[in-house]
Each structure stands twice: as C-alpha cells, then as structure tokens.
C-alpha cells in the first residue's frame, strides 16, 4: 500500500499554488469585419487550463465572448486556438506551463475564416470529408463472421484516434497562407482519414484518383508541422502521408500491385513509426 501513502498531501501542483494570483489574457475580439486584442485580468485557481480562464472571463467580464468547446478533456477537439502563437487545445494547456505574471495571448486559428472572437469557419474540412470515397468492405468470411488481427488493426487504430481538432490543417503551410490552394488540397487531417481507409484490412474501395489529383497529396513536402501539433500524437507524416505517397507512385502506375494489396487485405509496407 506504499503507493497510496506516499502521495503528497498538496496534490500535483502544490509547489506552484495559484492561490491569490491573477492572470492577464489578451484575447482577440472581433469578426470578419475587423477587431482587436482586448486584455482581461481574472483570478487564477490551482490546476487551471487556458479554457478555464477563458470561461471565467466569459462568465465575469464578457458574456458574449465566442469560443467553441465541448468535452474539456482533450477528447472532442473543439477548442483549438493559437496560444502565444502556438496552435494548441485550450483544454489541454495548463496555466502553470506559463511564466507567472506574463500576459498570455490567445487568437483564433488562422487558416480558416474568422466568424467571431475565437471561433472560425472550419466547414472546409467537412466539405473535403464528403469527397472521400466511402469505406467498402470485402465479403464476410464463409461462416458469416469477420476476422481481423490486432497487429493489422493497430496501425489503423492510430489514425482513428484523430479528434478532428484541425490543428494539423491550421499549421499546414500549403493552405495556411495560401487560400488559393484549398481548392486542390485536402490537408493532413484528410490524409490521415485516407490512410485509415487505405490501410483498413477490410476495405476494397479505390481512392487512387483522389489521392493523385483532387486531394493534392503532391503538394505536401513533408515538413512535419502537422505531426508536431497533433494532440493525439499521431505520426501523421511518417505513418499516413509518406505511405500514401509511396502508394500513389507504385500503384498508380502498377494496378496489379493495388489489386494484390486489396485482395490480401495486408500491407507489405515496412518501417512504421511506433
């Protein structure tokens, strides 16, 4: 029972107690027509995350401050923002990671059109999702069941961890400052989705055309910005984008390779990053 008794009485952040402290935040206020940063100072409490402070500002000083959030536990991907310029989930950014007394700046994610304050129009992502050819499973096993093995499922489950926070889309330089590329580029989130479908042991659908042309996979030059910001730590570049690129090269010009892979349900690919 030693593990129980050894727990310090003050809790995890006892050394950096926030009692009596305040914090000042600069938050973007405005809409598509324009706006400015506004400063708010509110009391801090132990263990707070950035979203807690935003909620406190909303409750006490700015009832109409627009912010998206749902689960407050890093599971829904709603509260993406740029905190001191870094794209993060507000609910998973602890206040004790900032230097006490320093003003913290929060702005909306930049790649998508602003609606109001910290809320942006992310409909681009939902539009692109519609263009992905759906999952199409192969026939059932002769006994009416489906069998898949954990080792084949593991790598696709990594992609299924995606919470659609769109931070990867936000930092992707192909679209971050290039509105004109959005037409012909789906972005890292959709590449993860495409990889999940392409590597699904049961799937039989053909997405090679989409990958090569409409999704714009070729635009990506593997700078790994997307991987760095992923709050689910999905190896977007190594495990999703690079294998898709290899596939476009080999299978687009060698349809037999594509058929062989679809029939076996297995991927000969090596070098998965764990």
């Amino acid at each position: 029972m030693a593990a129980v008794a050894e727990r310090p009485a003050g809790g995890p952040s006892a050394s950096a107690s926030a009692a009596g402290q305040t914090v000042t935040m600069r938050i973007w206020r405005g809409d598509a027509a324009g706006g400015a940063f506004q400063e708010y100072t509110v009391p801090l409490e132990e263990g707070m995350v950035v979203l807690d402070v935003v909620h406190r500002i909303q409750a006490m000083q700015a009832n109409d401050l627009a912010v998206r959030w749902n689960c407050k536990a890093g599971k829904c991907g709603s509260c993406s923002a740029e905190i001191n310029g870094k794209p993060r989930l507000m609910c998973m950014t602890r206040m004790n990671t900032f230097e006490p007394g320093k003003v913290i700046t929060i702005s909306p994610i930049r790649t998508f059109p602003l609606i109001k304050d910290l809320v942006t129009d992310v409909s681009f992502n939902f539009q692109k999702a519609k263009e992905v050819p759906a999952f199409k499973p192969k026939p059932l096993d002769p006994d009416g069941k489906r069998r898949m093995y954990q080792e084949d499922v593991d790598r696709v489950q990594e992609f299924h961890k995606c919470i659609e926070c769109f931070l990867c889309q936000n930092v992707c330089h192909v679209i971050r400052d290039h509105e004109e590329n959005k037409q012909s580029f789906a972005g890292p989130r959709l590449f993860v989705r495409l990889a999940a479908l392409e590597l699904h042991p049961l799937d039989t659908n053909d997405r090679r055309e989409l990958l090569k042309y409409k999704a714009g996979l070729g635009f990506c030059n593997i700078t790994k910005c997307c991987t760095e910001v992923c709050p689910e730590h999905i190896h977007i570049t190594d495990n999703a984008i690079i294998p898709l690129k290899e596939r476009v090269v080999t299978e687009f010009y060698d349809p037999l390779a594509w058929i062989a892979r679809k029939l076996s349900g297995r991927d000969p690919r090596k070098g998965i990053v764990e």
Partner: protein
Amino acid sequence: MATEPYETHEYDVIVIGAGGAGLRAAIEASAKGVRTAVICKSLLGKAHTVMAEGGMAAAMGNVWPEDNWKVHFRDTMRGGKMLNNWRMAQIHAQESPDRVLELEEWGALFDRTKDGLILQRDFGGHRYARLAHVGDRTGLEMIRTLQQHAVHKGIDVYMECNVQRLLKDGDKIAGAFGYWRETGAFILFRAKAVVLATGGVGKSWKVTSNSWECTGDGITLATDAGAELIDMEMVQFHPTGMVWPPSVRGILVTEGVRGDGGTLKNSSGERFMFKYIPEFFKAETADNEKEADAWYEDKKNNRRTPDLLPRDEVARAINSEIKAGRGTPHGGVFLDIASRRPADYIQKRLPSMYHQFKELADVDITKEPMEIGPTCHYIMGGVRVDADTTATAVKGLFAAGEVAAGLHGANRLGGNSLSDLVVFGRRAGLHAAEYAQALPSQPVVDAGEVERVMHNLLKPFENTGGENPYAIHADLQETMQSLVGLIRVEPELKEALDKLAELRKRLDNVSVLGGRQYNPGWHMALDLHNMLTVSLACTVGAIARKESRGGHTRDDYPTTDPHFAKVNLVMRQENGEMRLREEPLPEMPDELKQLFEEGH
C-alpha cells in the same frame, strides 16, 4: 411584437441531436427513402458520445460463449433495480450484437481477440466480459463511424443550429424552430416527424462529467410540447470522476479502469468495497480479495469483484468512506491500477486515461493511484416512449438515447448507453420514417406561434441591467449539487423547489450583452429554461419517490419500498405546472420472469 424574416426548410423527418442515437436515427430514416435532416448544437462529431470511453455492451459471446441476450437482459434489469421497462431491456439485449457488427461493416475497428473477433471487456454489473471496445475511446470510434457513414448517405446536416421549440398542428408534430449559433438568425423546419436525440442534463449540477451541451433540451422540448416524462428523479452519479485539481473536478474516469483490474482504496489502503456488498448482489459478489482477483481470469469458479458492483452502489460506498473521514486529501478515494497491472498493459488498455491524468493532473497512472469521487453523469429518466417504436405521447414525436427513459430503470449499467444509442436510434429513425410516409400531407405550422416563440427568444436582449446568465447558471448548479445530489432528504428537496422558483424569476429578468452573432451569453440564457425545467422535474420526482432505489437515494427513506418497486412516476405539464402521477410498471411476461427465479 418584434418580427423578422427567417429561413424555412421542409423535411419528412428531422433528427435533433447528432450523437450516437441521432446519427443512427438519421441513417435509418434516410435509408427508408424519406427526406431527412440532422440538426445539432455543435460541429458534427463533437457530441457527448465522444466522451464514452469503456465500450458498448452486447452479448456476442466472443470471450465467454456462455453469454447470451437473456443474461444481458437479466443483468440490465437487476442493475436497474427492476424499475426498467422490461420490453426495452429485452429489445436492447437482443439487438445490440447486430448493431455492433453493423458498425464494423461501416468501418469501425474494435480491439480484437486472438482469433480475430471483436474483443469484449469486463464492466460493472455485467456477468460476462461483454463490452466491445477500442481501448478507452469507444465513443469516438462510434461517432466517427456513424458521422462518416451519414455523410456518405447525403443526409443534410445543420451544424451549430439550436432548436428551441417544437411546433404542432393540432395534436401532431409540425416542425421545429430555432436559431443558427453563428449568426443568431432564426430558422424554421417544417417536418412530419421529429426524433429527439438530444442527450442528457448534467450541466445542471456543479460536479459533472457532462459538456455544455447537456442541458436537457430534448426533455424540455418534449414536455413543452405535451409529452410525458418518467423517472426524472433517477440521476446517475458515476463513481469515478476526477477530483483534483479543482478545474478538472468531475471529468470522467472510465469504469474500464476497474474492468481491467483497478481497485478502490481508502486513505488507509483498505479495499473498502467488500464492506458495501448489498444483500441483492451478495450471491454473485466475491467477499474476499483472493476470490475477487481470481475472478478476472476465471469466472466459472469465482464471483465478481465488488469493485464492479453497479454504479449506484459504488458511488454510495465512496461517498460513505469520504464522509467517515477515510477519503483522500482532496476529498475523494483512491483508484489504483498502478500496483495491480504492468505499465505497458495500462498504457495499451487505457491510453486516454493515461494521457488525461498526465496532462491535467501531473499523475502517472502507471505509477500512482488516481484520486476519484462521484460525478453527475447520466439521467435514467426522461421522455416516456413506446418500447418498440420509441414514439412519445405526441403524434410524430420520437425519442432515443439518453433523452428517452425506460431502458435503464433506476440505474444504468456501464456500456449499456452506447448500445442503447444505436439500438433505439435505429428504431426511432425507422418508425419516424414510417409515420412520415403514412401521413397524407405536410402538417401546417402556425405562423403566429412562430412569432410568439421568436419574441420570447429575443427577450433577453430587451431586458437591460438584468441578471447575468452565467451567475444564474452557477447558482442553479450550486442548488442542484447541494440539495438534489447523490444523497437526498425531504427538507433539502423542498428548499430546492423554492430556490428553483427564485431562479425562474431571475431568469425572467436575464439580460445579455452584445449582438446576435455567436453569443454564448444569449445561448446560456436560453438554455437555462431547459436546465430549470429538468431540474424542477427531477426535484418533484425526488420528493415523491419516498424510498431509495438505484440513482435515487433518500437518507430519510433509506431502503427500497415494495410500493415504489411497482410504479413509474409519470409527469406532464398542465397549465405551466408539472403534474405527477404514479402508474404501474408494464407487467413482464412469465417466461422472462423465470430468468430471475432460476438463480442464474
């Protein structure tokens, strides 16, 4: 009276809510060939279903071939303290395996057994390992699978659109009226049938696992439209929510921690659940640590660990330990898996719990125990529905998922919610579509009624210098937490009634700052109507049920009462008042009754 233009859309079936139940309903309705739309308050894929962690209960028998629907049915009824609607429990147990397999057909990837089948995990109150799961993020897998399937079926989705009122043509549903959050503009849906799939009510309590969305919208829409509610006093406090630091208090810690070997301990390291095994579960629960630990591997020769008693029992036990002074420094108890399972096993089985504690509490759950305590999680009560069709008392109005009542009785078993969503979501979509197809013409919406609703919705902008909606909300949460919480007594419940009446008056005087565009203060002011409605219904039910059963514990009536064992408390609004009456439970057929007599 203020009036302004609004957009109008016409459908056969509209589904309000895009969690598991709403999406499944929409998929089914659309498959029947009717014009279908989904309307949701958040972005698609963000609904509270993503928070479901442990899994989806279905007697597939992949791990324990002995399992079948009858065992699942019996577990569900006993977990619900026999207050369940037997027919819903039967349908649920019979159909959930097919709904799991259907998700797999649509691309979901559940964890696998060695033979390549869907793996199943142990959970509280389930006799066999029964929960199909994906690590501890099963809800995310469900919602993403349904979301993508729905998108490819071409169903119209209205995101960040909030329905405020159902409209009727005589006694029939005619549509729904609401607003776009983004612009604040109004929107009218003319519809032959409406499916409510709006989820729960947890945002009325201070310590809750629920998100901002869980404000009892569907229950309020239904009762405002004349439907009946049942069992509104039955609120589940999940035994394991985070307690520290204060800002994360209430966030859910999956029951999967205990399902995978974790155990509850008090401040002196005692596994206290052995002291709290109720008579009702004695025969099937281990009374010593050795047997409890052996049960995980060998269920034939051992009885289940008391750590996995149904949630109501565990939550009360934790509460008693804390009250007796045996709690942790931050007012919880310990949940320990670190000393019981290897670190890599914990990381593989419970990745998001590991992440959550590491990031939010600086606790490494592979090395240290967690501090946990009860958190408001789920309402078993809600809109009264027909077991087979999910139809409510209002023609053309259907309800499925947490908003509907009956399946879970007085207490829901873990894992029975995700399966509930898809089993009854499908039925709601099917029967709403059939109802719409049989209706000869589109019902007529009363334009005058629309104008009255619009006027009400804009009232908070006209009040100046009134109440801050967030302050009213904070006081409501304080009231429900302290007076209508896990343990209840009559004087406190009556005090709650007075406070709720005061809050209702304050809400009349609420005012909002800023404009119509994406204004959370306005949205909160409107949601408060729903939160106050469900809080009142819960309190009225809690006063009337003079016994303790499942999610309803009365300190002044600490035992079950044979009279209340046989009745639902049915509520209906009449002239603005909640009227309550008792109605006998539906009678279970003899062949099902036998399942409880054979001593399974």
